[in-house]
Amino acid sequence: MAEVHIIGQVVGGSEFPNQSLFCKWGIHAGGAWKLIAGTKEGQTQVDIPENEDFAYWSHPIDVHYATKGLQGWPRIHLQVWHQDSFGRNELYGYGFIHVPTSPGCHTLECVTWKPNGTFQEELMQRFVGGCPQLKNPDLVYSGADRYKLHTTAMGKVHLKLNLVFRNFDKYGVEC
């Protein structure tokens, strides 16, 4: 049995077309992995930066996994949402990133995208807001079937993760 501690932060989001953002995140791991402590899902507050292009959330991540195998290494999936002045929430992007496989401190940038609608929908979106969402959010972390999607590049989410590994070397694993 080997163990992984993931300790860190969802620092913030940048380069999104509008600020006033919040983020939902989750950690997903394969069947051989067992969550021992910590919460693997969360949602940040809405951050409204005054005059910069960076919304800071500093949302804590602290989970402890134990595993029997290497398959299904933990991965983080994100959804960035925008809250407008009327309190309406609008999807701004899906993101995905693998948790690094080397111990230590990692600064990660997770790129996000959102599905496109038709021309009419996009015109409506411009004035009323709202956009199509994925019917099956699993698509974010499965590589197959993606080719059917047509998307727009959105901003980046910044993460800072500190990883502590245990016992991997005992089983001849180099990571």
Binding site: M1, L70, Q71, Y94, F96, H98, T101, R146, V173
Partner: protein
Amino acid sequence: MDKLYEKDLGGATYRSRDPIKNFTVKIKLQRLSASTIGFLGKPGSPGDENQEITSSVNQYGQTILENEELTVHWQQKFFSQREMEFYGFEPNCTSVLDYKYHAEVEHIKVGGRPNTRLFTYVDKDRFSVVEEAYVPMTTSVNEMPSHLSSRVTEVRRRKNANSSSTLQPWELNKGRSVSGMKLVEEKPTDEFTVNHHVLNTPVHVFIIMADLSPEGQLGSAEFERRLCTIEYDDNCVIRVSPDFTRSKPPYRIEEGGLSRDIWDFQVEHVSNVVSKMESRREGKVISELYRKHQTYLKGLVGESFEELPSGIFRLLAYGEILSAESFEYDDLHVEFFVDLPKNWSCDPGQLLSGCTHSSRTTLTGNTERAYFAQPFNYQLFFPLQEDQDTLDWPKIFLHVISSDTWGRRRTEGYGYFSLPTRPGCQRIVVQCWRPTGNEGYEAITSELNRFFIGGNPELEDISYAAIPNTFEGKHLSKYGVRTETGGSVTVQVNCIQQCKAFQENLSTAVSRKKLQSALQIARGQASKTAIHGVMDAYQRARKRMQLARENVPNQIRESAEKNAVEKLRGLTTQDKIKNILRKAEDEQTEAK
């Protein structure tokens, strides 16, 4: 004398899990002959005579005029002369505590005081609060406490354990709340800010004081000096300032009346020490707890870990295609696949190729970027064989394509990268290019086609981007192919390597080296059998020799050995061995 050593009045911090009521301190206070002894004559009134008889000389050659020792427990109250007078007079008492002290003082008056100069302030005392009041930090006469300092001392004040919020229960849920918890206080009261300040671990203070008044004038407030402050907070942290004296020279104060007496004091820690048996038992309990926790974890997950048969190297690559940037057209997508070199294998069910969604680019800075965040993960195996000469590493080929609403499809670029040979997280930027067709008329038409109706020359075999699969020869020449630079694709790859051979030498060597050593081990397997034969022969020969030696009488053997050693000096190793062999044979024949 004072300048012989640096005065160290710094405090020290200790941590103890044991209850604080077991904490005991011994204070030793001594009055020494005054520093001004030379011209003021012997201090003290004629009434001191009997004390001088009992006085002795300390290690610095100074006469000890007065000596007091006091052992105090945590929060044990000792009254000073002044307090005796204060609490002894009943009309001074205002609170319950005052009356309690009054009773105690009355009791002491009958039984006699256990202390003379040393006394203590406990946590609840009203005098100890005065001690914590603002102390000027500089020599300036006009120094005033800043707003911050006055507020912080207020926060530091320790009575907040039992103070509760003044909010009524029905008010709690009024603000925006998450599961009944109020997150933001809209109108914070003073008490609220004090309670919710960061520095709010309640601290209990215990102060050991001394009344250093001149002889016969005990009880004046101006000569009361603080000897030692002990603070204890709820996190089991004990702060002692100044620190326990231990082997250091005693602390020194110069104080008291006209003659400026010198006072030495020592602080000693005299709490009962835990016996060895007990501490061992405690340690056992803790280790037992950890073991229980470990077994619990193992029960939860299972102790085993997936293992590989020896001689197999496993490479796991978890990665994502992050972005593509600076390509000519919009709406990009990337097709990619893994090329496994000879001898590598993978699960048959595993998809080795993939395709991202198409992404419209956005302009950030000066570059057009398309974001994919397309995950891929591969599990590849490689047998460590003996006849392995070259080591090819798997490559991933990329093909960037743009498509637009009219269904026009254009190749934007080809590129490839090898999976990292180092385990861990790596970000790779792949620069891409695309073929433009042959020179002359063809090139022009293909570019026109590309612009108007889409489509352009493509590679027949994508592996041409690296070393073509069909390539056989000494020089790889791509001369003659005309290309145009595309943009770049950013990929992040996390690699994990697993091999049984890594398990055996747990050094921190670079893994490529490890892999090499693993290969060498595999290669070594073949030659091992040959070595075994040689070793066996050697062992047999050695055994025979030993047998022969045992038959030789002791005396002969010793002398022979001596001779051999003398002769050996200055000979080469080969000669040495020959000598020994010859000697042994000689001895054998002699013995027979």
